[in-house]
């Protein structure tokens, strides 16, 4: 045992020395202070277990020392040594916290009692200390218990799963919420059991991440991993886990604490978001229109597949670049785009003309400003309306023809009667002038003394019969014109029969091949015919004679055109290529129609002619050679009488293709 150190404050050196010696014998170590002031300093600078002191001292008195010490903290065990008759001082000292007191007796007996007193004091101090230690331990354990309770309650009510593991990464604690997230009880999750709850596809990566992490946990800030847990019923829960290391006072890792959050809803929202994005872009991509988004600087923000198809530029290459550079055709629209964004109104440019592969095409450009707050930009929609524009042209054509037809119906009767006078009279005239065997002629000739032969000879010599023939021919052409014009007016009698268009076309070819036109000097037989007929063509409800009229008309026009281009020159030498028709028949199942194509390799026509080709009285033939009604009548027969479509494609110098579509099902 360490020797007890005692500070003895005594101004009487002899007495002090005596006490020192006596105490030393009792096994105590005693330092002497000559007065209160020195004693106070020594106590504060040294390590003393007990203070013994005299009341009467220079510097501070004993009571003053006690007062000063008491003001500085807990008092050490103090023995107050007072003279006889100073018991009040002793009592005062005891009140102030001194441990005990001794009365100086003259015979010095108090030297003998002092060690006992000190012993007692020390014992008492020891007991007090022990009690305090016990109380402190109790307090600490109470505090720990409270901290643990706090943690337990916190972790119980926590919306996130909480776990604690030891330094080996084995789970030692697992809260209720974690049971819900993982579908495993606390016991099941303990140690490394938790790994069984992880979705098989995620298990490997989570485990390797976890072990890799805790082995190097000192280096890492915290652990973070995402995975799925699957409970026994197969319910999947998405979770994100985080962990940090716990360290003791020596900075040694004593374990890990972490939380696991259920992010299933978040994941679903994410998936939904993703799905929605896909769905939206799918919608945008499915649109038959070019849809392009631009920001306020005219840079591309959105680029759908139709835009890619129209430009050949992919979305990746387009987004972020100026539209005017990516899609030069729209450069002229940028002013309108700015205007639309500025006014927040839709702007449009309809029926723009552009040239694509040398072909004139039409498009509608519509600019929609984005009007949601905080979004600056516009969506540009481009629709190819070429077919529509052509259809409209055709409809205008039909309208024109119908009005021609209406007019013709009114005129026909008025024209036909004088025409009948003229032609029928001319017919009788030619019979009276040229028919030498007609009895009435012979009788009349005889009466005036000439022969019918002489009369006919005169008429022939003077060209009278030729003149009459001219009258008849002209009359016939007039009748044709009226008849053709009338076909615009007549409503079709809905045909009750269906026909095989292939054989109809073949019969028409035969008919055409007998058609040898002296004036145009063409011979149908010299034309090559290529037939490209689909097999299994459906029968088509139609008026066969009218369709034949159309086919014959187209074939005749084509033959004449090819004659100009490919026939013989004035010396009978063949010019250029051999005339050739390509005839195609196809069943267009989706459109529910039969498509007839008649392609020639004649001179073709330019855009201006192509546009007017079906117009009544439009002709490219020299005056007197064509009425300009053939194709318009054909067009009318197909579109109005049969509910079909007729169009023409042509490349100047290469040829012309007429396309006729007839509905396979009769329209009600």
């Amino acid at each position: 045992m360490e020797s007890v150190r005692i500070l003895y404050m005594e101004d009487n050196p002899g007495l002090a020395s005596l006490v020192q010696k006596r105490m030393k014998r009792a096994g105590y170590n005693v330092d002497i202070a000559r007065d209160g002031k020195i004693g106070l300093e020594m106590y504060l600078n040294g390590q003393y277990d007990v203070i013994a002191m005299d009341q009467e001292m220079p510097g501070y008195s004993g009571l003053e020392v006690i007062r000063i010490l008491a003001s500085r903290g807990p008092l050490p065990p103090i023995v107050m040594i007072t003279g006889k008759g100073s018991e009040t001082i002793a009592v005062e000292a005891m009140k102030m916290g001194a441990g005990d007191y001794v009365i100086k007796d003259v015979d010095g007996k108090y030297f003998e009692t002092l060690p006992g007193i000190i012993e007692r004091l020390l014992e008492r101090k020891h007991l007090i200390e022990e009690k305090e230690a016990a109380e402190k331990a109790l307090r600490e354990s109470e505090e720990r218990r409270r901290a643990e309770e706090q943690f337990r309650v916190l972790s119980q009510i926590s919306p996130v799963g909480i776990f604690v593991s030891d330094a080996d990464g084995k789970i030692t604690y697992w809260n209720d919420r974690l049971c819900v997230i993982t579908g495993m009880s606390t016991d099941e999750g303990k140690d490394t059991g938790w790994a069984d709850g992880i979705h098989p596809d995620d298990r490997e990566h989570v485990l390797s991440e976890w072990y890799e992490w805790y082995e190097s946990a000192e280096a890492r800030a915290d652990f973070r991993s995402e995975c799925r847990f699957v409970d026994r019923k197969g319910k999947v829960t998405w979770a994100i886990g985080q962990a940090v290391a716990m360290k003791d006072s020596n900075d040694e890792i004593i374990g890990f604490v972490g939380n696991i959050t259920d992010i299933t809803d978040l994941k679903h929202a994410e998936e939904e978001n993703h799905h929605l994005r896909n769905y939206l872009s799918n919608i945008i991509d499915s649109m038959p229109s070019v849809l392009v988004g631009v920001d306020s600087d005219g840079k591309v923000t959105q680029w759908n597949s139709e835009a890619k198809r129209a430009t050949g530029v992919s979305a990746a290459d387009a987004v972020g670049h100026p539209l005017a550079r990516i899609f030069p055709r729209l450069a002229a629209e940028m002013e309108r785009v700015r205007e639309a964004m500025h006014t927040r109104e839709v702007r449009s440019d309809l029926g723009r003309i552009y040239i694509h592969d040398g072909e004139r095409r039409y498009e509608d450009v519509l600019i929609y400003p984005l009007i949601t707050d905080g979004v600056e930009g516009a969506v540009i929609r481009v629709d190819d309306v070429t077919e529509q524009v052509r259809l409209e042209e055709m409809m205008v054509q039909s309208e024109k023809m119908l009005s021609v037809g209406g007019l013709a119906a009114g005129m026909a009767h008025e024209i036909n009667n004088p025409l009948a006078s003229m032609m029928q009279t001319a017919g009788v005239m030619s019979s009276r002038l040229a028919n030498i065997n007609l009895p009435a002629n012979q009788r009349a000739a005889k009466e005036i003394g000439v022969s019918t032969e002489a009369i006919r000879a005169f008429m022939e010599t003077r060209g009278i019969l030729r003149m009459i023939a001219t009258i008849n021919e002209s009359g016939r052409r007039m009748a044709d014109i009226v008849n053709n014009m009338l076909s615009f007016a007549r409503k079709s009698d809905s045909s009750a029969y269906t026909y095989d268009i292939a054989s109809l076309l073949d019969r028409t070819l035969e008919l055409a091949s007998t058609d040898y036109d002296l004036k145009k000097q063409y011979d149908f037989k010299t034309i090559d015919i290529v037939k490209e007929y689909d097999s299994d063509l459906p029968l088509v409800p139609c008026e066969d004679t009218k369709i034949q009229q159309v086919l014959l008309n187209v074939l005749r026009n084509g033959a004449e055109a090819m004659q100009e281009e490919t026939g013989n020159d004035e010396n009978g030498i063949r010019k250029g290529k051999k005339p050739c028709f390509i005839l195609r028949l196809a069943h267009e199942k989706e459109a529910g129609s039969l498509r007839i194509e008649i392609e020639d390799n004649g001179p073709g026509m330019d855009e201006a002619v192509r546009k007017r080709i079906f117009e009544p009285f439009f002709t490219t033939k020299p005056v007197g050679e064509g009425t300009g009604l053939g194709l318009s009548v054909s067009y009318f027969i197909i579109t109005e009488n049969h509910g079909g479509e007729m169009s023409v494609k042509s490349v100047p110098g290469e040829g012309t293709t007429f396309i006729i579509s007839l509905p396979v099902e009769r329209k009600s």
Binding site: I415, A420, S431, A479
Partner: protein, 131 residues
Amino acid sequence: MKSILIIDDEQAVRDSFADYFEDRLWLPIRAESAEDALDLLETESPDAAVVDVRLPGMDGNDFIRKAYPLNPETAFIICTGSPEYLVPPDLMEVPCVSDRLFKKPVTRMDNLEKEIIRTIRNIHGKEVADE
């Protein structure tokens, strides 16, 4: 000699028919309206009649409806310049009315004559095969 009634309000047309048939040894009887023709039928019984449809006053259809009961052996041929005209169904059923319609201008008078003869033969129940 067979007689033929020509009803047409236009004189030149009427004459051209009459001249043709006269040369073919018919006896033409001209009328410029249905009313005139009906008057004529009180005294005449022609073998055939070429009837225009659009006439001043009574039209050609009504004329035939009135005339054929009077002269059931007369062959009626309708000849019109109206493009939309069709022989009315009630007249189509009458055997002495040709169902073949002739449109003016008639460029082939010989066909008209043949049809007239065919219709006359029909009325008399004769074979048509040799036509």
